[in-house]
C-alpha cells in the first residue's frame, strides 16, 4: 500500500508545499525587503514608529471588536431561539442561504438602501427627520459588516446548543433553578465553545475586509486588510504590505490563542 499511497499523495503534498508553506515563507521574507528588494528590517521599524500605522492597527482592532460584539449580540438569541423551533433544519438552511449570495452583491444592495436618495433617507424625510448622510459613515460600515457576518456566528453557537444534552436543563429545573439561572449557569457555559469559534469566524475576517471599507465606509475606516491592499495594488510597496500582512497573521494567531478551546476534562459531562 505504501507505494500506492506515495503515488496518490503527490498532488496533495505538492499543494501543501507550494500553496501553504511557500506563500507563508514568501510573505515573511518579503516583509524584510525594501522597495528595491534589498534586505532590511526598516519596514518593521517604520511600522512601529509611525503613529498613523499604529493608530490604523488599533482602529482596525477596535472596529473588528465592535463588529464582533454587535454580531454576537444579535446571533446568540437567534441561535438560542432557533434551537427551540420545530423545523430546525429548514430554518438553519434559510440562515445559510444568504451566505451563498456573493458578498459584493450584498454590499451593492446597501449602497442603494443607504444612499442619499435611498429608501432609508426617504423614510427619514417622510418621518420628518430629514435626509442624513448614511453611506460612507463608520456606522454604515459597522452595520453592513455585521450584516454579512451574522450567519457565521449563528452556525457555531447553534451547533453548540444542539450538542448539549437536554436532560441537563431538566435537571437544573428539577434542582430549583429558574429560567435565568438555568441559562446563566448551564446553557451559557456549555455553549461557550460555539461562541469562541463564532468570535474567531467573525473577528478575523473583520480585520481584513477591504472592499466594504471602500464601497460602504468611503475609506474613512482603514482596516489592516485595506492597508495591505493599498500597499500591494496602489503604492506597489510590497515590503510594507507584507509587513502589515505579518502583523495581521500575528493578530490572527493571538485571537485564536485567546479564544482557543480550553483543554477539557475527558469524559466529563456527557452521558
Amino acid at each position: 500500500m505504501t507505494k500506492t499511497k506515495t503515488m496518490y499523495s503527490i498532488p496533495y503534498i505538492l499543494w501543501l508545499l507550494l500553496f501553504v508553506v511557500a506563500p507563508v515563507l514568501l510573505i515573511v521574507y518579503q516583509s524584510f525587503t525594501d522597495i528595491d528588494g534589498a534586505f532590511t528590517v526598516g519596514n518593521y521599524g517604520k511600522y512601529f514608529t509611525s503613529s498613523t500605522a499604529l493608530r490604523m492597527t488599533f482602529n482596525s482592532l477596535l472596529y473588528a471588536g465592535i463588529i464582533t460584539a454587535a454580531v454576537l449580540l444579535i446571533s446568540y438569541p437567534t441561535a438560542y431561539f432557533l434551537s427551540r423551533t420545530v423545523h430546525k433544519q429548514l430554518w438553519l438552511m434559510l440562515i445559510i442561504l444568504p451566505t451563498w449570495i456573493n458578498l459584493l452583491l450584498k454590499a451593492y444592495a446597501f449602497i442603494g438602501i443607504f444612499s442619499v436618495n435611498g429608501t432609508i433617507n426617504n423614510f427619514l424625510e417622510f418621518a420628518g427627520i430629514g435626509r442624513q448622510q448614511i453611506l460612507f459613515t463608520d456606522t454604515s460600515f459597522i452595520f453592513v459588516a455585521a450584516y454579512i457576518e451574522i450567519p457565521f456566528m449563528i452556525l457555531p453557537i447553534f451547533n453548540a446548543l444542539e450538542e448539549m444534552n437536554p436532560s441537563l436543563i431538566s435537571a437544573s429545573r428539577d434542582l430549583g433553578a429558574n429560567t435565568w439561572q438555568t441559562f446563566q449557569r448551564v446553557i451559557l457555559p456549555l455553549s461557550m465553545n460555539g461562541v469562541r469559534s463564532g468570535v474567531q469566524a467573525v473577528f478575523i475576517p473583520s480585520l481584513s475586509l477591504f472592499m466594504l471599507t471602500r464601497l460602504i465606509g468611503g475609506n474613512r475606516v482603514i482596516t489592516l486588510g485595506k492597508a495591505i491592499e493599498q500597499h500591494f495594488m496602489v503604492t506597489q510597496n510590497w515590503g510594507m504590505g507584507s509587513t502589515i500582512g505579518v502583523i495581521l497573521i500575528l493578530s490572527m494567531v493571538a485571537i485564536m490563542l485567546l479564544t482557543g478551546e480550553k483543554k477539557r476534562r475527558k469524559g466529563g459531562n456527557r452521558a
Partner: protein
C-alpha cells in the same frame, strides 16, 4: 416556556430573517423598476433583463466565473479526496494532527493574506496573472474544505471492507476505485459543492491574482459599483439568487443521505449509552 415568551422568540426570529433577506429582495424588487434607480418604484419593466441579455461582456464574465468555479472545484475535489486519504492512512495521531493543522491554515487565513501571498508567489515563479493564476489560486483555497468533507466519511468506513477486498485479490488501485471511492462519494459530492461555492463567492483572492485579461463577476461588480448603480447588476443578482436557491435545494437533498446516517449513528450511540447505565 410559556406562550407569551414563545411568541416573543418567534417575533425576534422573524425580525432577524427580515434583516437577512431584506437587502436581497430589495435588489430583486428594483431590478424591475422602470425608474432606472433604486430610489422609488415608478413602474414595471424587463428592460434591464434585456440589457443584460445584450451585454456580451458581462455575460462572458458570468460564463468565465462559472467555468472557473466548475474547473477549480473539480481539480480541488480530486486532489482533496486523495489528500484526505493520505491524512487518514498516515500512521500516528501526532503526524495526522500536524497534517490536519497544515491543511487548515488556508481555511483560517484572512483572504487578503492568501491573495497577497499568492501574488508574491506567482511573481517569484514568473507566472503571468491571468486565468491560470486565478484557477490555481481557487484550486488552492478550495482543497482544505474538500479534505474536511471527505475525512469524516473515511472515518465511518469499516476497515474490514478493505481487508475483504484484499483477501478477494484486489490490487491497491482496485481497492481505491472499487471500495474506498464509492463509499466516500457523499463526502466527495459535498466537498465539490462547497468548493464550487467558495470559488463563486471569492472576491479578495481573485482581486489580487487576476491581471488585465481576466475578470470574475465579483471583481466586475466591485469596479461597476464604484461608479454607481446600474440596474443591470440587480437583474443579474436576481438570476444568481435563483441559481443559488437551486444549488441549495440540490445540496440539501444530497446531504440528506449524509445527515440521516449521522443521525442514525448518533441515536445508536445514545442508545448504547443508555443501555450501559
Amino acid at each position: 416556556m410559556n406562550k407569551r415568551k414563545g411568541r416573543l422568540a418567534n417575533l425576534y426570529l422573524f425580525m432577524v430573517f427580515v434583516l437577512l433577506y431584506l437587502p436581497i429582495f430589495y435588489l430583486i424588487f428594483y431590478s424591475f423598476n422602470a425608474g432606472g434607480n433604486m430610489n422609488g418604484f415608478t413602474g414595471f419593466t424587463l428592460e434591464y433583463y434585456q440589457a443584460l441579455a445584450e451585454d456580451t461582456r458581462l455575460l462572458g464574465i458570468v460564463v468565465d466565473t462559472f467555468l472557473l468555479a466548475f474547473l477549480s472545484a473539480l481539480l480541488a475535489t480530486v486532489i482533496g479526496t486523495f489528500g484526505a486519504m493520505m491524512i487518514f492512512y498516515t500512521r500516528g495521531r501526532k503526524n495526522r494532527n500536524v497534517l490536519l493543522s497544515m491543511n487548515n491554515i488556508l481555511m483560517v487565513s484572512p483572504d487578503v493574506i492568501i491573495g497577497a501571498s499568492f501574488l508574491i508567489f506567482f511573481t517569484v515563479l514568473g507566472i503571468s496573472l491571468n486565468f491560470l493564476s486565478v484557477l490555481l489560486s481557487h484550486v488552492a483555497f478550495s482543497i482544505p474544505i474538500v479534505v474536511l468533507m471527505v475525512l469524516p466519511r473515511l472515518k465511518e468506513m469499516n476497515p474490514s471492507l478493505i481487508d475483504a477486498a484484499r483477501d478477494l485479490g484486489a490490487t491497491n488501485w482496485q481497492i481505491i476505485y472499487k471500495v474506498i471511492i464509492p463509499f466516500v462519494t457523499p463526502g466527495i459530492i459535498a466537498g465539490y459543492f462547497m468548493a464550487f461555492t467558495y470559488s463563486l463567492d471569492d472576491f479578495a483572492v481573485t482581486f489580487f491574482v487576476t491581471g488585465n485579461g481576466f475578470s470574475t463577476l465579483a471583481v466586475e461588480i466591485y469596479s461597476r459599483a464604484r461608479q454607481g448603480i446600474s440596474l443591470e447588476i440587480n437583474a443579474l443578482s436576481t438570476l444568481l439568487f435563483l441559481f443559488s436557491m437551486i444549488l441549495v435545494i440540490g445540496y440539501y437533498f444530497i446531504s440528506q443521505g449524509n445527515t440521516s446516517k449521522k443521525q442514525k449513528s448518533l441515536n445508536k450511540s445514545r442508545q448504547e449509552a443508555i443501555d450501559t447505565l
